[in-house]
Chain length 485, copies 3
Amino acid sequence: MNSPVETAIGSASRTGRAPDGFELQEDRLFPSDPRSRDLARELYSTVSSLNVISPHGHVEASMLAEDAAFSDPVSLLLSRDHYVLRLFHADGVDIERLGAGSGAPADPRAAWKIFCDRWHLLEGTASGYWMRDVLGRVLGLPVEPSPANAFTTYEFLQERLREAGMRPRALFERFNIEVLATTDDPLDSLDAHRQIRDDASFSGRVLPTFRPDAYLDPSGSGFVEATERLAAWSGAAVDDYTAYIRALEDRRGYFIEHGAVSADHGVHDLLTVDLDALEAASMYRRAVRGDLTSEEARVFRGHMLVESARMSVEDGLVMTVHPGVHRDHNDQILNRFGKDVGADIPVSTSFTENLRPLLQRYGLERDFHLVLFTIDETAYSREIAPLAGFYPSVYIGAPWWFLDAPDAIQRFRAATTETAGFSRASGFIDDTRAFLSIPARHDMARRADAVYLARLVLEGRLTHRAAARIIHELTSEQPRKVFKL
Amino acid sequence: MNSPVETAIGSASRTGRAPDGFELQEDRLFPSDPRSRDLARELYSTVSSLNVISPHGHVEASMLAEDAAFSDPVSLLLSRDHYVLRLFHADGVDIERLGAGSGAPADPRAAWKIFCDRWHLLEGTASGYWMRDVLGRVLGLPVEPSPANAFTTYEFLQERLREAGMRPRALFERFNIEVLATTDDPLDSLDAHRQIRDDASFSGRVLPTFRPDAYLDPSGSGFVEATERLAAWSGAAVDDYTAYIRALEDRRGYFIEHGAVSADHGVHDLLTVDLDALEAASMYRRAVRGDLTSEEARVFRGHMLVESARMSVEDGLVMTVHPGVHRDHNDQILNRFGKDVGADIPVSTSFTENLRPLLQRYGLERDFHLVLFTIDETAYSREIAPLAGFYPSVYIGAPWWFLDAPDAIQRFRAATTETAGFSRASGFIDDTRAFLSIPARHDMARRADAVYLARLVLEGRLTHRAAARIIHELTSEQPRKVFKL
Amino acid sequence: MNSPVETAIGSASRTGRAPDGFELQEDRLFPSDPRSRDLARELYSTVSSLNVISPHGHVEASMLAEDAAFSDPVSLLLSRDHYVLRLFHADGVDIERLGAGSGAPADPRAAWKIFCDRWHLLEGTASGYWMRDVLGRVLGLPVEPSPANAFTTYEFLQERLREAGMRPRALFERFNIEVLATTDDPLDSLDAHRQIRDDASFSGRVLPTFRPDAYLDPSGSGFVEATERLAAWSGAAVDDYTAYIRALEDRRGYFIEHGAVSADHGVHDLLTVDLDALEAASMYRRAVRGDLTSEEARVFRGHMLVESARMSVEDGLVMTVHPGVHRDHNDQILNRFGKDVGADIPVSTSFTENLRPLLQRYGLERDFHLVLFTIDETAYSREIAPLAGFYPSVYIGAPWWFLDAPDAIQRFRAATTETAGFSRASGFIDDTRAFLSIPARHDMARRADAVYLARLVLEGRLTHRAAARIIHELTSEQPRKVFKL
């Protein structure tokens, strides 16, 4: 990963104040106290070059199957990055100009100029931290974007993207990605995954993930259409609950054949309900006709979470749950741009009572893995760490979305470790659709863990040897174990 | 702001342990690690003498219009400061002796003795921090209050208050206040504001703020009386909804003519409801007869928040919302002393769902500014920063009330910046009725921001240049922009 | 407390990296920055040897009455420690092998081997921190448990437990316990307490605590049986509400005669309801027949909290409330092992509204002490500190259960002090059934307070003299005052 630009960056680091160019300090994220900094650096250095294990994210397999050069910096870096779009939207930018919705801006150069003009919006944010790494380290841009350099930086980046080393597979290898999981519709053919697997010229391991929300939630706009497609695939009547369950199981089997290790569930609230089969079948028949009240739809969705847990117990797919987000908070934005442009807002989330029906049934199953994520960080110390510290099935997911940020990671570790230790944590999960940010995100997590562990050592709460072992486990063994890799 | 006392204080500072007198260390609030401390001090020094911009608070305009000398230290510093009264009440003091309710104690010397005897109650609190600044720096008291010096310190302060430089306008100038907003009843004549504006001998800018709660909330005890007064003013029938809305709009216009830039809303919970005009009118007719159930009253209040947002879209007044406080938690205290003696207790507050009706309607309006405050700090990372990081209208209000304190400010910055950066923050707002504490509060905020920014720089997350620019923006540009000053 | 082993440990400390054996650094928990560390150490040293005051916990009086040698390390250290059991359960251990449920494992040596094999599960946890202290300092174990030393460490510990100095009363004295409160059923004969008190050879003060939950909560499984036992004791009809109240009052009187200073209430949620006597009596008659709906049972329990407050106002017992835990989250575990093996999970808890009926009635009573605990730490800054900073009766309980841990204590102090100062805090409460961990827990709290206070001093927010006084008060005066000792 060394280039002349990086070398130049390297020489400017450690000073804290490079007058020009990117500051990507070697010691970034480490505390300023010298003892803490030295120990954090030492711990970090033992894991900084370990392979990346990415068991959950949103990179598309087709990108790696096709391995085409990226067309331009804006569609690559901005148009689909909802973390970035949202801040520019808040600042009054018409995000259509950045390619929101379409994925490609009409005028990439004008879009890049907007980005350069408002680069300061990202200051202090996690997105800004990753973007500096992407631009400075992955792409080798020698200076920070600024209104004055919009033209030259665009040209520089455009030139870079034409290099063979900037194609997806080359980056995959440069990033030391050992395994990358995508997120896929249950009826996806997984052709791209098969193509990657069958291609002898590429050894990267790219796994699908079963994401059935649209098929499980009658309150979602696409439920009727999704269940119809599923019935068409299975050849059963659309209102046949048994066939519906069977079809979901079959599709999970198909995903498993293609390497899937987990099924992912994104739900607005976390209610789980343990209906008997007759109730569920009756409710399902009305659901496919769009006849459920919103409360009934919520109950059925809660039942299908428990059913999904049962399937995981039976077929071994790790169950990940991402609850507590009000998706598409603004209808105008949804209608104009569609989903995932930055209008998703978290809500308060409770796990203890809501998950109880599921955990009463399956919480003690030994090969069942349930990984809990939250954006309501109050749940970490109050509910998630206590649950994971008792149930053999429950693991604490990595800080997610808005909480995947340097300070939030420290809060996460502090809120969960004293109750549940390190063995109940999933290890880092990047959850990103921004492919180029993968090394930055994993690097950030490793640095953050080094900072946390160094503090425990210096406070006499952990031996140095234990810290050295734990940072390796969090980076490597723990995600393998939790995601059965 | 230099006096012999301050010089003496200055020489005792930096040691960490002055044996006598006030410790007001020059480096107060800065961390002990030398690199952090040096950088925090440097950043702070660039903004420490900037003008104070106070776009929301509770100082009364009449005080500046009349410019009378303060009568005594107790009624000035204690009788109306609910932060102080509450702690003395909790310790068993009969707060009537401190002037609670009346605003002036029967025996100020005896009240001051109580204060000196229990000065330790304020240790570690934000009030104690400000009080040290007020006594030591503004009033020049050379020693900490103690049981032994109650008589001499009272005499010293009483003497000070007779000085011309201790009158409200002189202090206004000494404090470098550029603009100060008061909080006013919609039917206030604003005579005091006009008098200040028309007085060529005083150049201070004192703006009214429209605070219509009593007129919008049928569950408040004064609603019927308030709407009757409003109808009397407008000449319309009290149950005429259209006239009621018109009258509110007219009063807002009157406030705007007198310099108002914002309308402030204090609500128990944040429900917003988008009723149609017929429903609203029907509900209003019953409301003025006191005929709403408590749930209906809640709905009507929620509707009036949306109506207030519409008015802000039309007339440009910034909308500030202070939700989530159970006012007057104890009836005995309310009946004996009235409001604002310290019996207000926060409650859990949700923004994402509750604000959605309002934001669906007006959230994308470009000149609409909605500043959200909270005392439920869990909302910062979970809801407020995500909302402000998406909606162009939403700004993150400064830490409010119990959260306006050194550690809470660090938590606030850490909880909001990684998601929303700095551009979505309101800048500091003192929200105080304690006039003499204004410099201490703004100084505390500047120090706290310097500490936070220094940390980001030393952790390689922000360039030094950016930090220097941002602390200036947070102190000066950002409140001007957010409050349209 | 010095032994050759401890001396050896001592010489390995301060280095941060002892290659072998236990690291129990003298400076543990202190921050790495030298100024902070020095001041924290200095403050800590002034209280490190003060007597232990333990006004609430779960050690059994019979243990001290009988003063028998502990049988083996496993039943002493593991079988009843639900903090430890839970983490081993989560890791897949059959906790019956550790003695869960029975309190004594079938094969203690095999159990100790399990513990040694999975010692790493405790790394970074509060339990691990205490366990290191118990093993290294109380029991003098010279090395950390490891798979290789399971046999020798068991033998070492077993040998130690045969020493006279390892009997309960000897440890009580060695631990410098001045007062220790147990937690007892209202119908407990308190024979053990009397036996201890009457034994001239032991001067330790061991007080009972009145814990009436089973008698007050109709939704608990044992309510009918408990009220029948109470009626049998009093000789009244079981459905006689007046006699029921009288009997509770009489039992409180009996506890007071035996030295009790507090009554403890563990409730799932904190609802308080102020029913009139007729309603309450009618509800009670149905409750003892098991005829209440779950919502009615909740209301009756809420009423009995208010009644308990009334009794405390009258008889002076301090009222402690531990709300917000879903006890026995998993039925399989409850059925197999019974209570208290680690399956209790916290829930979100609100105090402001829920406690209002109680506080309206009794919140201003001067000799009423209500100590509020929480595992929902969001309540600290939002509700508990504001309530305690206003109501003379309300005190902030020490961080409880999962929050009784080094980082959580820092968060607790930061979240409460800026609002309520130090005078409203209860001082440390260990709440433990792990007798040997008492010194470790109190030591941890003193170190944590030293760290917090040192920070305030170095940030210029507290004088050095005040910090020195406050750490003494928090350790000694404050628990005496709050618990009327």
